[in-house]
Symmetry: C2
Subunit: 512 residues, 2 copies
């Protein structure tokens, strides 16, 4: 990291205390499930998949591309290395994965926003990666840094979102080799929720670590996890040097990574659910084992990004039953490894935030909760197969995440919840609206959407007969209008600004 | 039944053979689940609810209104009758329920469309009851018999719909005391799927039985179940004479009824999930016990229509987490009684078939599959809290039912599904699109929507950038344009026509 920046940060403790007393918007605590996971695979089926995954690793192997360091680590660990192909003896990868923690805390600059990833928890983070944005007024267009900042603000204002995410859209107006600096700067200064680091080059991963050292202090970063970043595997069974290089930076610095096969079923994996699960497991075993070769105990997440394919058009399809099968199964496999699990999201193929988008998204969100996902990237705002970050869909999905929170609470069974007194009081033919039990409990009894329309038809019609997209458009404007930046120690802010300026000045712009 | 009509029917066997060879549209077999149910309540919680439900029946009791016959049956069975209040000694209702079958076959006039209700099956039936219809062209308006016929045709054409339903909308242009005749006539002649009978008066239930005798033959109806009808309980704990009178007609004739508390939580039941489940169970126990007092072995379904309430507007709300909790719990209670379970549906509060409608509906459809529902009424077409049958939403929801079918299939684990050969063939860095395993399996591998848009953005944009509602509107027109009436023996058709004409002529029109 830049020495000047680190020094400039000054008294971290005082700054953190100042932040804690600043104006802030309500954010729900991450979900702690009080309902079971839904498990569709039998133990026998899971064992078949696990056995076959070991067969893949042992007999077929995986490729670590342009990465002699990785090959050396694998050779040393006992794998058979042939060119870039790494064949891993049965059981070795699983053994290496044992040093990965079953859960970890990702720290936010506001400690109230820290998240614990793993166990029965579910942490929700927004859409990641789209080069386009869409809203009602502007239609579909290339994303800019100004769009990016708006999404970070919306994420900060969203009660049910625990995490600020990473590339909430690609700021295409900023040079490729510098946009990670602006993106991190936005997450760090416009929100106080936890965030993700850059993975598009190992040097950018290092910049991410260094900026975190400015924000949190050098010692704090070395002793704590302050980023969870997304490492995709090039399925089938290929680990490229860019992603692995970034993983190496993060693992060495004790920062968390999602290690995630990126699969369009039928293209990057077999068309069958069992075959895809087998490949997913083999890839994750190899990837997580590698993270532990880099640094024993580095925090990682068992990832599975899965879609199916429309065999007519070749387009990926979302919210489909086969993707659901795979996600449920992958959750079971992750739990058998004792690792946090990432999957699901606000996935849809629709071009608009319409009914198709909502059906597909709701299928995937429900699935995400019930399959035991611990970290849900893309939990809101995803549109058009991930090509578009939608402003309206961001707030629509973010509202639905409230449904997940309440569903996860499970059912209270104490005497008040049993309500036998109320049933006795009201009796046959009565009604509960006025009874004491209702008065005492109604405020907390039901989840209420902050967005959807519950009004009588006539009122709704008088107000312009607005559909969900129109209501969402209003909510986007309201949230952005109400937005107030969370307080930050000015010295830290100056140091972050200086870090970004210095790094930007150090190299020419590149849009490649 | 009308003697003339029965005689006119003539050779039933020949007619049924003729029907079997007629042109027909593909209908999927009812869902036979190969995935587990999702259970959120512990055994201990279930026992608390069961104990409390017995306390309600014993100490508070239920009202059978204006029904001396029912009171006599209850007294004879050992209940304590005080005015219209029936207090049922602990254990008696559950004991009486034991004679209800755990599953039953509902016959359709086309035997290929018979459904088995119970066990691990899920039978899907369309929306029931709305006085309004809506479509893109005509907006929201009172429903007519012509609308009704269109919905029956759409149901017949919908691959994933196993059942023609009942009051798919209220034909408000037909006198109240005669519309059941036209509705049944439409189900019987425009579709060959199973259907529901009238419950708005005991005499109309009898008309329903008599029309079935014309369609199926008198003996067949007495020996088989050919209708599943909807008996709502006036929650809390009130059994009115109209609904019970209809139940009596159906039970005596061995016809099936859904016995269903109709609950807006916070109004007709306590605001708490546990309290609502307790009341639901007490009501269902009393209702089903009564059906068995009328006729031991009469087929019945444990019903639970549950919504929550928006405490600001008083409006019922749909697709909410509390309704989900109740439905999951009610499924567990029904299974412990060994009875078929009815709940869930395409529920939504939205005024339009937009994203709100789809989120809420998808939440409920997913829930319906996972909670073990055996008979899902309202599985498609429900809009605006049940006030509106939507043409577009009918086909949108009906398409999503395909997702449920495929999800329910579970995961194949045979050698072909394991696909280890394909993974070996493709290897690291390859792709699966051309491989032999993909070619051999892709056609059956993925569920494909018949409605949703999977096209590339540019194609979609060139074609008019249509949203889901616009695509659905086209599909409605296509299906109605392609519709062909299933064949029917002319003598049967004449007899049905004559029955309706005779019954209509027998009394003056009434719109009350």
């Amino acid at each position: 990291m830049a020495e000047a920046a680190r020094r400039a940060r000054g008294g971290g403790g005082a700054a953190r205390r100042a932040e804690r007393s600043a104006i802030s918007f309500e954010t729900a605590r991450y979900i702690e499930r009080n309902i079971p996971n839904f498990e569709i695979l039998s133990d026998e089926a899971l064992e078949i998949i696990e056995t076959n995954a070991e067969t893949i690793l042992e007999e077929i192997g995986v490729n670590f591309v342009e990465n002699p360091g990785a090959l050396a680590l694998w050779r040393e660990a006992g794998a058979e290395v042939d060119g870039e192909r790494v064949r891993i003896p049965r059981g070795l990868a699983r053994k290496l994965c044992e040093t990965a923690p079953s859960s970890y805390t990702q720290h936010a600059r506001n400690p109230e926003r820290n998240v614990v990833v793993g166990g029965r928890n579910l942490v929700l983070a927004p859409v990641y990666g789209p080069p386009f944005v869409r809203d009602v007024e502007g239609g579909r267009r290339y994303a800019t840094m100004e769009d990016f900042r708006k999404f970070v603000k919306l994420g900060y204002m969203s009660k049910w979102l625990h995490h600020s995410g990473g590339t909430v859209c690609e700021p295409t107006d900023v040079p490729v080799n510098k946009r990670h600096l602006d993106m991190l700067h936005a997450h760090m200064t416009l929100s106080d929720k936890p965030f993700m680091g850059s993975v598009t080059e190992p040097s950018r991963a290092q910049d991410s670590v260094d900026m975190c050292s400015v924000l949190f202090g050098d010692d704090f970063v070395q002793q704590n996890t302050v980023m969870t970043s997304l490492i995709n595997i090039n399925s089938p069974m290929t680990f490229d040097d860019v992603m692995m290089g970034s993983l190496e930076v993060y693992a060495r610095n004790n920062q968390a990574c999602i290690i995630s096969p990126f699969i369009v079923g039928g293209a990057m994996a077999p068309v069958s659910v069992a075959g895809t699960l087998t490949q997913v497991l083999a890839e994750v075993l190899a990837g997580i084992a590698y993270s532990q070769l880099v640094r024993k105990g580095a925090p990682v997440i068992f990832g599975a990004f899965v879609t199916s394919i429309d065999m007519n058009s070749g387009a990926p399809t979302f919210g489909t039953p086969e993707a659901s099968h795979i996600t449920y199964g992958a959750g079971q496999l992750a739990r058998r490894m004792g690792l946090p699990f990432r999957s699901a999201g606000s996935f849809c193929g629709s071009k608009l935030p319409d009914a198709q988008a909502a059906y597909e998204t709701a299928n995937s969100l429900n699935l995400g909760l019930l399959s035991g996902v611990n970290f849900m990237l893309h939990a809101c705002g995803w549109l058009e197969g991930g090509l578009v970050s939608s402003f309206e869909k961001f707030v629509m999905d973010a509202d639905q995440l409230g449904y997940l929170h309440h569903l996860a609470r499970g059912v209270e069974m104490d005497e008040n919840a049993q309500a036998l007194g109320a049933i006795r009081e009201v009796g046959p033919g009565g009604h509960y609206l006025g009874c004491e039990h209702t008065q005492a409990n109604f405020k907390k009894a039901f989840w209420k959407s902050d967005l959807l329309d519950y009004k009588p038809f006539e009122t709704w019609d008088d107000e312009g007969a607005r559909d969900t997209q129109a209501l969402a458009s209003l909510r986007v404007k309201k949230l952005l209008g109400d937005y107030q930046q969370p307080a930050m120690d000015p010295a830290t802010r100056d140091a972050l600004d200086a870090f970004v300026a210095t790094r930007k000045a150090a190299s020419p712009d590149s849009f490649m």
